[in-house]
Symmetry: D3
Subunit: 192 residues, 6 copies
């Protein structure tokens, strides 16, 4: 097993804005996802990372649902073999979509996943951006337009893929492990 390569900082030594955000996440999720601590040892990068994350993932007016954004992340992170992102964002995908099987499906082979043709086109493009972005051409935009995506949606798909490509590489290099809680999230229907 890969050892954790960079020690996690003590929460109490972190700048106040970062500490506050981490406590807020802990309050909401019940635990602190490791990415929040792992990146906090470099506060300037931490702030830029989460600002970028929120700009893409919380953008209003996008025609991509929250579940679809997580679908992009889970699919491309699997292509990048990023354990942290596949497990953590797979969990969030299951929760948003309220479908316990979809994350494993897109992670192993999105072509066989139980998704719509529009989502399939979205993931085809995300994988192209992930693996060979230099081949993107006007025809690829047209294929997405045919499924109702406009150019802002395409920017979103590309941006989310590109941003998590960064995240995947940092998680791989630092050997960031997913919190055990993520593995089970969204797999069992909540008791009512």
């Amino acid at each position: 097993m890969a050892t954790v390569r960079y020690p996690l900082p003590d929460l109490n030594t972190l700048p106040e804005d970062i500490r506050a955000k981490i406590l807020e996440v802990q309050e909401k999720s019940g635990f602190v996802p490791n990415v929040f601590l792992a990146f906090a040892r470099r506060p300037a990068e931490w702030r830029a990372f989460f600002a970028y994350h929120d700009a893409l993932m919380l953008r209003e007016g996008s025609s991509l649902s929250k579940g679809e954004r997580e679908m992009i992340i889970t699919t491309t992170s699997a292509a990048n073999h990023c354990l942290y992102c596949v497990v953590a964002h797979g969990a969030i995908l299951r929760i948003y979509e309220k479908r316990p099987l979809v994350a494993d499906q897109v992670a192993v082979n999105y072509r066989k996943a139980d998704i719509t043709p529009r989502q399939r086109a979205m993931l085809d493009f995300a994988m192209q951006v992930c693996l060979e972005s230099h081949t993107v051409e006007d025809a690829d935009f047209e294929a997405l337009h045919a499924h109702g995506f406009d150019d802002e949606d395409i920017w979103d798909i590309a941006g989310i893929t590109a941003f998590f490509g960064l995240s995947n590489r940092m998680a791989n290099v630092t050997s960031m492990m997913p919190n055990p809680e993520f593995y089970l999230l969204g797999r069992v229907p909540k008791a009512k």
Copy 2:
């Protein structure tokens, strides 16, 4: 979503030996894994497939534990992007190893999985057999010997990888989907 490409046969129309085995599996597992029905439309292939499966997976005297055999299957099936085998054998891996996280780990990136150096060497070789078996040389055997594997163990690793490479290809071509039950198996500790 890919449609099921070959209709599943009616259990009652199957030859008696196949029907009996399927009912036995159902009795034991609580459901019939799709592979048993999907292949049953060709009885001769069904019989050979499961005979081969059992010869490799139930061989006595192997130094590979049952969990390790499932680890090989889960890892190489992920490399072959076989949804059925990753989900089904990932479940069996979790159960045998009594470790709910290990299947996702080896499926996404076995290099980061929480496994022993011996298991790591086993999976390195399995992946070589899976992806570029023509490069196997004596030095690869020596590397495995150094971890305590003998030549019969190496045959087992190669055989399991090769056999499930066959299974992965058939599952991919027939668009075999994992039973929903598999996704959750072994993730939640059994109530006592």
Copy 3:
């Protein structure tokens, strides 16, 4: 040169059914193809292997000719760099097709081989199953239907490719060498 990695068993020590089948092959062919002895050290695997082989290769009602089945094997075994299968099945291909040049053609570049458009489509699909089965989609089935293949034929193509993918990997790992007899078989017209 790679050494033979697993000793061949003595014919007289083998279980009677295996010994009988091997003697029968020897009688018919004039020699014992190495695969029969190489796998016989594990009788249960031997029986499953040849049962599977016969189920696929001797299936009646298939629209694939015997020569076409060998064409699939020779082509995909070359992609897997399996010396044993390219040489042995290339020989059988030459014999069945009564065409001494076709085996070398499909082994080096099936796109340039002197085959029919239907056979070309068959080999395109076999190579897809061999190299990237996870990309098989409904459109691939339709392309084969257009050449007159039905779904059972497609199962045959996939099954033969998948089965010999197993065989290729075992031959590569065990360093199985083709019998010298195979190299020349079918190259010279038989004296009458």
Copy 4:
């Protein structure tokens, strides 16, 4: 020629902080590098992008020189076939290093470039992060330690590679073209 896919915004319509920064860059460089305008149509992403950029590229205490950081960008951007980044950062590399040939060398084949063994090790690792970050292991860290890089330097190499991997993908998707000025910068010794 690819058309510019997203219209550049009018400088006067941009938020004041972005406008001010762009004018400052223009003042300093004599022109506005296209990336500043291309990303400005989404102010939140713009701010996060340049904050991340500065956190990595201006970090004090790093043992990587400014030239070495640009060397990483030029090399990995070439692997990602990103015209904008190869041309723009190649120019900055030439200027920092005061060596007019080095940018073309690392872009075409960094193994043949006129750089130090330490820089070669740095680029080997950057390329690994760029192309197959999931294979990074402890031994890769040790190889860099042997050249005097500490773990913070390694984080810098990985971070710069990962961040510009994001930038490369966005530039490729949006078809961002380098300003003509970049092509010649640093190639001709400045008149004194």
Copy 5:
């Protein structure tokens, strides 16, 4: 930096025909491109190399302009990571085309270069010949015919790509470095 692997011969020790040609090139260019000296240590190969070069590059009646021939060389040499040819032929490309930006564009990503659709088709084919010539089929010829290339033009594209593939490999193996003069040639408009 790679050392020069084979010593350059003394000009005065070379056979008269080779010496004369080299002096002529020096007279015309102002310097001796390294390839002329690097290959001269084997006069028979030198003569064949430049005879082949001239047969392809000076062929009359071709519909490929001189600039287009250099465009093919620069693009495919970048795919082969040949520093010498990208820098030297990039320079000649800039000069013939009188366009200082085009060489860097095709070297990094010809899909984004400012070229005509006909040139794009030409480079698509050149890259196919460079990277996977065994997949060339009649349909590829038809695609080129549609852009006005006839079969002789196609032979030229293939021949130039194939010949410089030879040149790229020899330059890579011998670690041939471009003359510093090439880097700047054609980038700055000539003073009148």
Copy 6:
């Protein structure tokens, strides 16, 4: 089957030097290998091609035997999927080596061929030059020196690989088919 893409010229219309050489080859071999006619439609290229061929293949003082040179061609031509060269040079290899099996062995998987460790090192390097010449480094030279190859031998290995890489590409593009005679040559011991 691929059609022949460029018509073969009439022998009687060819320039006298080319016609004479072709008749000489026919006299010696009993047939005219297709490459002689296929390239003759462009006499200047024909002359350069065969001059280069002879410079490399007939060079005296090389420590590479004639058989070893053909071994390089057969192995790398298989990697380039060139039917003409694998079949034609495989035949010559069998004849020079007086070993009827070696050509098929190196074409399918040279790692399993019955060759010496020195020849194995030679083919490892030839394959590196064929497939990724930009990675050649000083250590690769040292590995060859350890097997007794000097720098001139290494130039020969690289040159033969590079030259037949050119030949492979032209044969693939023109769809040059091997003469039927080649397939059998050297497979059957000559009657005495």
